[in-house]
Assembly symmetry: C2
Homo-oligomer: 191 residues x 2
């Protein structure tokens, strides 16, 4: 599971085994909350198999903001770092096989490796990328119509359209399920 990351890091075997040994494997069924809105994150997850969505409660309706698939790391990252209550719930969509690491281990690893400038850069870059993702998603919400957002999703994240139930997609796109149906049927006609 971790071999895919091996060549990114120049760590000696002892360190590498120490760090990867902090991850534990678990299986969970579909629709299981790994972190609940308002709770303080204890773990970070790496997906071996399955998919996960991130959502928050808006007046009783859930609003999905992100999807994750195999090999993605998942956490409510800002809360994880600062120990704040999470603004979102993290929940499996399909049955999943996950690897998780406890916050205290993650903190230790980050502190150790960030003594090295190359890791420091990497950490900062990672956070910047996260910011950039939010920015892009936010901009797309402002400038694109729901139909355009749907087309972008089909193009950029085809897995989502293939694997995720449509009502989650509708809430991710910011429209009602009915309207997403309309968009799809309109696109089908045009084609």
């Amino acid at each position: 599971m971790f071999d895919q990351f091996r060549n990114k890091f120049r760590l000696d075997d002892d360190k590498w085994n120490d760090y990867t040994g902090c991850f534990k494997r678990m299986k969970v069924s579909a629709r299981t909350a790994l972190l609940k809105e308002g709770d303080i994150p204890k773990n970070m997850f790496l997906i071996e198999k399955g998919c996960i969505r991130v959502w928050f409660n808006n007046d009783g309706k859930d609003v999905t903001t992100q999807f994750f698939f195999e090999n993605n790391m998942v956490s409510s990252i800002e809360s994880f770092r600062k120990g704040y209550p999470s603004p979102v719930t993290i929940e499996t969509i399909e049955p999943c096989v996950l690897w998780y690491i406890h916050k205290k281990d993650a903190d230790r690893i980050i502190a150790e490796v960030s003594e090295l400038p190359v890791f420091r850069e990497m950490i900062i870059d990672t956070v910047f990328e996260r910011t950039f993702d939010y920015m892009k998603q936010f901009f797309s919400f402002i400038k694109d119509t729901p139909q355009q957002r749907y087309l972008n999703l089909v193009k950029e994240k085809p897995q989502v359209v293939q694997r995720v139930p449509q009502h989650y997609i509708a809430s991710y796109l910011g429209v009602s399920t009915v309207h997403l149906s309309r968009i799809k049927s309109k696109l089908a006609k045009e084609k």
Copy 2:
């Protein structure tokens, strides 16, 4: 101008003077672009007097995404770090007095101070805060009505409502100027 930051940092006077000496003062008139969409950021700005908006072009219409006022640092931060073309334009609204620092000086300072764990934490936290801001703005776009977003703005950033022309505010809220007018008149009647 920099005294307000003095007590946040435990630097000896030599370093402090070195770093603050990298900032130059300039005056610019209203509606001046400090950075244009597509250009690579060369400078970062600190506002002594005036206000600034960040916007991007959407099919000929401009969409405002942020406002900045006195004592704010302004940059297209993700692009500034990576040397990417900026996705946004940074433009003065009022005549401004600004301090700016060149990227090469900023890079040197960041590299120097991030040897110290306390600064490293500070830098990472700053980026996280930025991410958190985007997230909040994004979530508010999804969950709040335009009227609610307007009320939030009045409450949280009264300066914007007082100093910024209404059509910029409308585009910031994601509605037409006509609809913002409607919202205001509706609120006035209810009151």
